[in-house]
Symmetry: C2
Subunit: 522 residues, 2 copies
């Protein structure tokens, strides 16, 4: 959020964008690795409008933090380039002063380490982990109220003087809001500001097209799309976890966002996938920007908790996941996705799109940017793929017939790089008199949402089906309906991509043999 604020302020000036980001965090938050990833980048970028209030109560669910935590937190944040303060969190004057000091700091993010007592005021449970994960309970609430001089029989009550104190500030806040609205209304930048905050308008994007028969990796096709988008969608912002060139995620000519270079476009998240996805959530929740982020597909695992939050919160974020199969080659099993496509498809509200070729990649990006109620993962190849005739239209329905015969014996369902393989297999099967339909199924979630008529027009009942995907076969049962699935039900191997794929049966002879077997077996 602090990145979005700073980035927009650079463009609109502090007349229009001028706010601060306050984060409340506890001991557990600072133990999670993502807190180090995110605060390290915040320090690097000098996000001075960001202030963390760290509720340092020394208690977690299991007991005292001293069971597992003995960091010098101010020093840790100092090492990351933060302004640090340590105060008594129950001393209201000290809190006020610390907030002012944080606001006065103009080059670094700020953390206020506020030493507190959990359940402060509760006579028996204060300072204990019993007050962490469970309610205080009726008796302790009563005792606490008595101790604080409140009427224990009155519940959900706010004292009159507290109400009036809070309301006293309202006119000034309303005035500030009206003044801001006036500044915006009169600003020459008004239309631009509203455009930034509307859905991305892709009507003037010069979408690339790719000639049938040429060869290009879908990550490279994606790179061309990003260039085209960056020309027309000026609030497109994004980047990679240190794989900008490999992912094809760099906006050429957009420059690198850095401390003092906020007019630039490309974010460098560092090797911090979890924070990258979380920052993308923050950018999207803040608004005014169109965020995307990129890494290898296998590293989806590192960012998965934040992707899940995007799905829960309906955030329209685009994940660019390249090197989407064993075809990535020598990096081997740790880097070769196997179960990732299915693990992502299992997540509610995440659209997983694996385009068959360059033109389907363009269609996938269109789909992702048109989506407003959740995130979309684009799974792209490292290796070159042939550009296939007629790909793209139909992608919005999740699956479509790409090549057909008048009367079919079998349907070959494929995604991504395996669509070209299915087309080759179709030709060989045809020579044997087996007439195959080839279906490209870039997005299973969208296909499942189509009506029964469309679904059965693509996958007619009674016609045997074969799925082909360079990943686990688990999950394909939903679409092959008693047919067979060709895939990889083991971890990968380190060798040139084509060798690995071939050894694991992702080749024409195996697809043909398995299909023949399926049909013979009936």
């Amino acid at each position: 959020m602090a990145i979005a604020e700073r980035w927009l302020r650079e463009r609109f000036g502090s007349e229009i964008v001028d706010h601060r980001i306050w984060a409340l965090c506890g001991d557990g938050c600072l133990m999670e690795g993502i807190s180090s990833e995110a605060t390290s980048l915040a320090g690097h970028l000098g996000l001075d409008r960001l202030t963390i209030l760290y509720d340092d109560n020394g208690i977690t669910i299991d007991g005292k933090t001293s069971l597992s935590f003995s960091e010098d937190v101010p020093k840790r944040f100092d090492a990351m380039g933060w302004h640090t303060q340590v105060i008594d969190g129950h001393d209201r004057a000290a809190v006020r002063k610390a907030l002012e000091a944080a606001k006065a700091e103009t080059s670094r993010p700020s953390i206020i380490c506020a030493r507190t007592v959990i359940a402060h005021g509760a006579p028996n449970l204060a300072g204990t982990n019993k007050a962490h994960g469970a309610p205080l309970g009726d008796a302790e609430v009563r005792a606490t109220k008595e101790r604080l001089g409140l009427d224990p029989d009155v519940t959900f009550a706010v004292p009159v003087d507290v109400v009036s104190y809070v309301r006293r500030g309202n006119p000034a806040r309303a005035e500030a809001r009206v003044a801001w609205e006036k500044r915006l209304a009169e600003s020459p930048q008004r239309a631009r500001f509203e455009r930034f905050h509307a859905n991305p308008n892709t009507s003037e994007v010069s979408w690339p097209t790719f000639e049938t028969g040429s060869k290009i990796a879908t990550r490279k096709a994606g790179e061309k799309v990003i260039q085209a988008l960056s020309q027309r969608i000026e609030n497109l912002i994004g980047g990679s976890a240190d794989l900008a060139e490999s992912n094809g995620s760099y906006m050429h000519g957009g420059g690198d966002v850095a401390r003092g270079a906020w007019d630039k476009r490309n974010l460098h998240f560092g090797i911090r996938e979890h924070a990258m996805a979380s920052i993308s959530n923050g950018l999207s929740l803040h608004g005014g920007v169109v965020p995307y982020c990129a890494t290898f597909l296998t590293f989806h695992d590192y960012m998965r908790p934040a992707v899940r939050l995007a799905a829960i919160m309906h955030r329209p974020i685009v994940y660019v996941y390249t090197h989407d199969s064993v075809w990535l080659g020598e990096d081997g099993p740790t880097h070769q996705p196997i179960e990732h496509l299915m693990a992502m498809r299992a997540m509610p509200n995440l659209w997983v799109v694996r385009p068959a070729d360059a033109n389907e990649t363009v269609a996938a990006w269109k789909l992702a940017l048109a989506r407003r109620d959740g995130p979309t993962a684009l799974c792209l190849t490292r290796q070159n793929l042939p550009v296939i005739a007629n790909t793209g239209p139909g992608l919005e329905r999740g699956a479509y017939v790409l090549a057909d015969e008048p009367e079919i014996h079998v349907v070959l369902i494929a995604t991504g790089s395996e669509v070209a393989l299915a087309l080759q297999a179709k030709d060989v099967l045809g020579q044997e008199g087996i007439r195959a339909r080839v279906v490209s199924m870039p997005c299973t979630a969208l296909f499942d949402r189509q009506d029964a008529a469309y679904r059965s027009s693509v996958l007619p009942r009674g016609v045997p089906r074969v799925s082909i995907e360079a990943g686990t076969t688990f999950g394909w049962e939903r679409w092959v309906d008693g047919g067979i699935s060709i895939g990889i039900d083991r971890f990968g191997a380190s060798a040139p991509g084509a060798v690995v794929a071939d050894k694991l049966g992702l080749n024409v002879p195996n697809v043909v043999a398995k299909t023949r077997e399926l049909l013979g077996a009936r």
Copy 2:
């Protein structure tokens, strides 16, 4: 690994256990959040035998680390209680001295920040990111060799003086090894040491049994198993990411491992799930201990990259995942697993076990400890479940018939907490004349490995099937074979668990209605 070394040294003395752990890391490693999690805990525990050699070459794939990283690394490690040194990594005398200083440090882990030049000696690529992700190439290798005074036409050659230098140390190393073997052979602890390094022997464990009709959450049953195991398997070591009580993962009477308390049993990982799973990998790879770790099922996502490594590396680790469905209640969608079971089942070599009740939980633990070639995830309930007759035997085959009728109309397949629901539905269906078999399917991976005869004895062809599981229905197609799946294809909701489950259709009337519909539709 350093935890394992220290923990075993406490038990066997430095006569037998006395080694050091060296870690090599780069800039990217220190950006990943897991590095902060793990090094924070290492500092807290004072793991003085652990030394990190940080190859600080200032280069990542995208370019200079200054694109995204400006931490004061020594200060960061100092804040976490580490001994720190900064040296010129190309100065061999300085490296030697730093290694000695690290060894001399007896209360803190140590990091040696070695400033280096990537591709040192390569005339054109040294110090650039071109030397990071790709080979130098023939020309640059030749130029480098020339510059270093080596013959560019000789490859895979080790100079004779290097060979002799290295071999000169061999007799001393061989001697040390023989001396250690002698000490071990003569040690009164020898048998114990060998037992620690053999497969866990559970033959004398007093496994708990649970009376049919009583009620207990499977996490509580798991807690009783852990108590029984801790009595007989003295090298069982484990803990939780700050949820010891909730997970039922605490070995009562085992005490808390801490700096200066290495005779204890329970690890407190802090709120660091990723490091917890990675440390479990380290414990298992080190050997001599039987590791388990615990958190809520939803936080599997945080540890997923390390779980995948365990599966790739065939590590026999037990993951205790409690609060395994929307039944966890008020914590709501962020904490309620939906897609997790299927996302885990998609991973090769990970066994996912969701026991139906307390006795099946005992069987699950037996299975997990007997497994030697990969990790096992035990998915346990927060809520109480009835103890069912005849559960347990059959679990090792992944699925088995729990309740049957002479001639069946339908098979209800359920896992975990939904097995009791299936049994209730069976009764109601029976009153309508619909005869149902109930199959408990705690581990799909094991069921898939059974022969066709067994599989069809449990799930006979031609009999309609209904699966019931409080998670996504995606994936169940593999086992329902054209039948239907009752589950939750959306994120959860915050309310008492029973309310959420009921609202989402996990109740007898819905199971009965859907089953009736399925049978009527045929």
